[in-house]
């Protein structure tokens, strides 16, 4: 019989205002095996923990239940407290009487009754808890960063600077990501390339960084400290070691009609290409869907002109397998598709563009060499209308419910840049709200309005109608004036919502990292663990976790790097002792459990078993506890109940069921 202590936390008034904590204590003392029960305003506080320590000693507790907040908050706290005081941490159970009780119920009698039942279930479970010892597993001192944008680059640099090896996997031909597509950055209006390129070069030349561009993560197995990752290096058809990046091949390539992804499809590129001039590595790739040689077998011009013989049409995809201790996801974002927003005439009129397209137009390396002109007729626009929140803060399924966060600022930037460079061009911005929290942000916005004469109209645009004369008639509304507005424009720019990169779902599945309804990766805790995924050893960097601007991204990238460094600095990791275990006397050796194990943790061996005097060789399941993550799939597959999960055993769960169903 366990000697169990029950500790009921008031959580200030969070619990005590709704649950009669004294009553819970009183009822706890009636439970079998409960030798001590007390309540305290803050069990998790220093003083609360001292009380627990005293109770453990005084009553020689061999088990304890804390009735408090969610185990996701303080289970670790109380387990450590128990351990410090000589009680195995796995003899501690939490009854969640805050999130699951006091916070959702109003009636005190009802909430108290429920709290008592939750306490009983926890006591019933503790009776069957076994003291468990965490095992150890080695840490592979190498990190993987998925995505080579500013988030990935910064994370990689910080990890590499700390002395650990790190690999970047980027699916595009070059690292650089979205930031490389931007012209200027707010609120300082410095050139994006000027601040990004040095980082790219630094990453490429860092002795601890290996960059795999034109590559994708194919498969992930293992667990924190011991991931095994297959990386698909897509066929580049250009020998990375031989190519000097002279660019002749791109000039000579006869297939020049492919849409230029880097310029958002606003112009074309050759079949063999580097996405932009500062690309790293400065080695082109051949677009197999456009290359005449690869499609028809005839051509071969690039090969002919390549002086170093770097072209290799026979190249195939290659899979390399690497070991990592930690993985950082930095897959970034894309703008949403606008096919559900027909009213803005995007796609109908060439002069309705997204803000990211405007970035390319305004960039000296862009399709118009940096001249602001209409894509339809090349004329300079005299009236430009910006429409905010296209697809952001949207209540229906056409767009996204969240604020994309960056649009207000970049629109102010665009407006300011245009007014500065083309003073005779009028700029009007239709907005719902202008959101400018951030250092020097509101000042920046006010400059756009006050110094640059940008016309901000609070109100939405219902329709953009292309006119026969090539202009665009914007049907808007001014909410402050309460009137309809019809505005003729030469160009309309849509502040299109951003969403996580489409590949993130696939990657999240491979990593068993969870994802929210908007496909943003979920952090382990929204406030306290914002750069960690709930999956141990997987960290989040940049917009894959939620909309953010460059400084925030860089800050998060650094934070993720610190977490990785903290992990890689350890030689051994404690493993979760709540793993599956087979009872050799009941195991049939039928292999069903191995079929459902996602970690390949179950194998079989034939060994001599003494079953109450009957000695025979039996095929028995063996669980590798370093690989087992404790999901329990095997336990239900096992018909005889031979396979059980420590910490969540059949008998423990049944005891909880029994305690709840009286």
């Amino acid at each position: 019989m366990r000697r169990i202590g029950v500790f009921v936390c008031h959580c200030g008034s969070n619990i005590a205002a709704t649950v009669d904590v004294k009553k819970v204590v009183e009822m706890a003392l009636q439970e079998q095996g409960v030798v001590h029960a007390e309540d305290y305003p803050y069990m998790c506080s220093e003083a609360g923990q001292v009380r627990i320590a005293e109770a453990i000693r005084e009553h020689q507790l061999t088990g304890m239940v804390v009735c408090s907040c969610s185990p996701r908050m303080h289970e670790a706290t109380f387990r450590k407290c128990a351990e410090r005081n000589g009680l195995n941490p796995y003899l501690v159970e939490i009854a969640n009487i805050r999130e699951h009780c006091s916070w959702i119920h109003k009636d005190m009698a009802e909430a108290t009754e429920k709290a008592v039942i939750l306490m009983r279930a926890a006591v019933a479970k503790v009776h069957l808890n076994a003291p468990l010892q965490a095992g150890e597993s080695a840490v592979t001192k190498r990190a993987l960063v998925i995505g080579g944008g500013i988030a990935g680059i910064q994370t990689a640099l910080d990890i590499a600077d700390a002395g650990y090896k790190v690999d970047i996997v980027e699916k595009e031909p070059s690292i650089g990501g979205r930031m490389s597509q931007l012209d200027k950055t707010f609120p300082t209006l410095d050139c994006s390339a000027c601040i990004l390129t040095p980082k790219m070069v630094e990453a490429a030349s860092h002795e601890n960084i290996t960059i795999h561009t034109w590559s994708e993560v194919e498969k992930v197995s293992g667990f924190v400290g011991n991931f095994t990752v297959d990386i698909r290096k897509k066929a580049r058809y250009v020998d990375m070691d031989k190519c000097t990046g002279c660019g002749v091949c791109q000039e000579k390539c006869p297939s020049k009609k492919s849409l230029n992804e880097f310029n958002r499809g606003l112009n074309t590129r050759s079949a063999i290409y580097t996405p932009f001039a500062q690309a790293i590595p400065n080695v082109p790739v051949i677009d197999a869907t456009a290359c005449i040689k690869l499609k028809t077998g005839k051509c071969g011009i690039c090969e002919k002109f390549c002086q170093v013989g770097a072209i290799n049409y026979a190249q195939t995809d290659e899979i390399i397998t690497e070991q990592y201790g930690a993985i950082v996801v930095a897959t970034g974002f894309d703008t949403i598709k606008l096919d559900k927003y027909g009213e803005y005439a995007y796609g109908h009129s060439k002069d309705v563009i997204t803000s990211l397209e405007l970035e390319r137009i305004m960039n000296a390396a862009g399709p118009t060499k940096g001249h602001l002109e209409r894509l339809s007729d090349g004329k300079a626009p005299k009236e430009i209308v910006f429409i905010q929140c296209v697809g952001s803060r949207c209540s229906d399924d056409r767009g996204k419910p969240y604020c994309s966060k960056i649009c207000c600022m970049y629109t102010a930037k665009h407006a300011m840049l245009i007014r500065d460079k083309y003073p005779d061009t009028n700029v009007t911005v239709f907005y719902i709200d202008v959101r400018t929290p951030g250092k020097n942000f509101d000042e920046f916005y006010r400059r756009a309005v006050e110094d640059y004469g940008v016309n901000y109209i609070k109100g939405q645009v219902g329709k953009v109608a292309p006119q026969p004369d090539g202009s665009l008639l914007v049907h808007g509304v001014d909410l402050l004036e309460n009137k309809q507005i019809l505005k003729k424009a030469d160009m309309v720019v849509l502040a299109t919502a951003i969403e996580p990169n489409a590949d993130v779902r696939k990657i999240a599945t491979m990593l068993t990292a969870s994802i929210d309804t908007n496909n943003f990766l979920t952090e382990a805790h929204p406030k306290l663990r914002p750069v960690e995924s709930p999956t141990a050893g997987v960290f989040l960097s940049g917009v894959c976790q939620g909309p953010k601007d460059i400084p925030e991204t860089v800050a998060q990238a650094g934070a993720a790097a610190v977490k990785v460094i903290g992990l890689l600095a350890k030689d051994k990791l404690k493993t979760n002792p709540c793993t599956a275990k087979a009872d050799e006397l009941r195991c049939n050796g039928c292999s069903q459990c191995a079929n459902v194990c996602p970690y390949g943790a179950i194998s079989y061996e034939t060994r001599l078993v003494n079953d109450h005097g009957i000695r025979e060789d039996r095929r028995i399941a063996v669980v590798n506890s370093a690989l087992c993550q404790g999901c329990g799939a095997c336990t239900v597959t096992c018909p005889s109940g031979a396979m059980d999960l420590q910490g969540f055993s059949n008998r423990q769960l049944i005891a909880e069921v029994d305690a709840i169903c009286r």
């Binding site: 049939n588 292999s591 079953d611 018909p639 109940g641 049944i654």
Partner: protein
């Protein structure tokens, strides 16, 4: 039958097998029992007739622990059970010599509704078209062979063996009913009628475990219902719930593994149509996850240890 004895003696005498697993003559024509024969002489008591319904595949688990090979006679449906055991590593194929025997449908003495049965003519070498003549203490009666046939033979899954070393004897098609008709009939009932039906059937259960112990899929060394470690140990039925629990869980544990051999219904002393549980799962599996016959092959993924990302949601088809 004679050819089986001849072949068995031959293999035994040549030393190719150490023993023979077959059926032994009983006191009556209809009570042949599964038996191991170790000598050629003992095979004189070997019998194979219409009452040899017992599926011998499960005995091969124990036979595999003995020295040498065991010759086993498997009917077509028994061979599915053997294959399933093979897949689950419960039997050793190396230690089995399998003769697939023909089957023309097996009889159930409980389906011959006469008192005081002494002799059943026609059961020796059955033919589904035959009329059985039954001599009883109270006179002579007749019954069509098909009327006395086990339920499973009316919905036989085929007369081809899925595993064997050699084949002996002829088979005859016995199918004359729809395998899922009864399940469908129940499915169409209202919840109240369903409940009343199963309550009435299951209230007869005496928890003798015959269904479990005869079942080749229920081959656990220690059944979860016999073990205290799961806190599920039950012996007798103490309430109507426990019968349900036992039969639901038993059906669940063999779901995707049950070959529908029908032994559970054959042996139930209370005549509970236990196959209706297993067949419900088989029907659901076929409908939801694609046609699947347990025991038909050793490799294809089993329905409950595999999945697709687009599987139906639980409660599918509810109102």
């Amino acid at each position: 039958m004679q050819e089986l004895i001849v072949r068995a003696k031959e293999l035994l005498e040549k030393g190719e097998v150490a023993r023979v697993l077959g059926w032994k003559k009983g006191e009556q024509e209809y009570d042949a029992e599964p038996a191991f024969f170790e000598t050629a002489e003992s095979l004189d008591n070997f019998v194979y007739n219409g009452f040899c319904g017992a599926n011998l595949s499960k005995y091969m688990i124990e036979a595999g622990k003995k020295e040498g090979k065991t010759l086993v006679f498997l009917k077509p449906c028994d061979s599915y059970s053997y294959n399933q055991l093979l897949r689950e590593h419960r039997v050793d194929r190396e230690k089995a010599y399998i003769i697939g025997v023909g089957c023309k449908g097996k009889l159930a003495i409980s389906k011959i509704p006469f008192d005081g049965i002494l002799k059943v003519s026609g059961a020796q070498y059955p033919d589904a078209q035959e009329i059985l003549t039954v001599e009883t203490l109270y006179g002579t009666e007749t019954i069509p062979y098909k009327d006395a046939m086990l339920e499973r033979c009316h919905v036989c899954k085929g007369k081809d063996h899925v595993v064997y070393d050699e084949l002996l004897g002829e088979s005859a098609d016995t199918v004359d009913a729809d395998r899922f008709a009864e399940v469908e009939r129940i499915e169409k009932m209202s919840p109240e009628e369903k409940f009343a039906y199963f309550q009435s059937e299951l209230s007869k259960c005496i928890r003798c475990n015959a269904c479990r112990n005869v079942c080749p899929a229920c081959s656990c060394r220690k059944c979860v219902f016999d073990s205290t470690a799961f806190d599920s140990e039950q012996k007798a039925n103490t309430t109507s719930f426990e019968e349900k629990m036992f039969h639901i869980i038993r059906a669940f544990h063999v779901a995707g593994r049950c070959t529908d051999c029908g032994e559970c219904s054959r042996v139930c002393p209370q005549g509970i149509p236990l196959h209706l549980f297993n067949r419900k799962f088989i029907k659901d599996i076929n409908a939801l996850y694609g046609e699947y016959q347990a025991g038909s092959d050793l490799e294809c993924p089993a329905p409950l240890t595999s999945f697709t990302t687009t599987d139906a949601e639980p409660g599918v088809g509810r109102g």
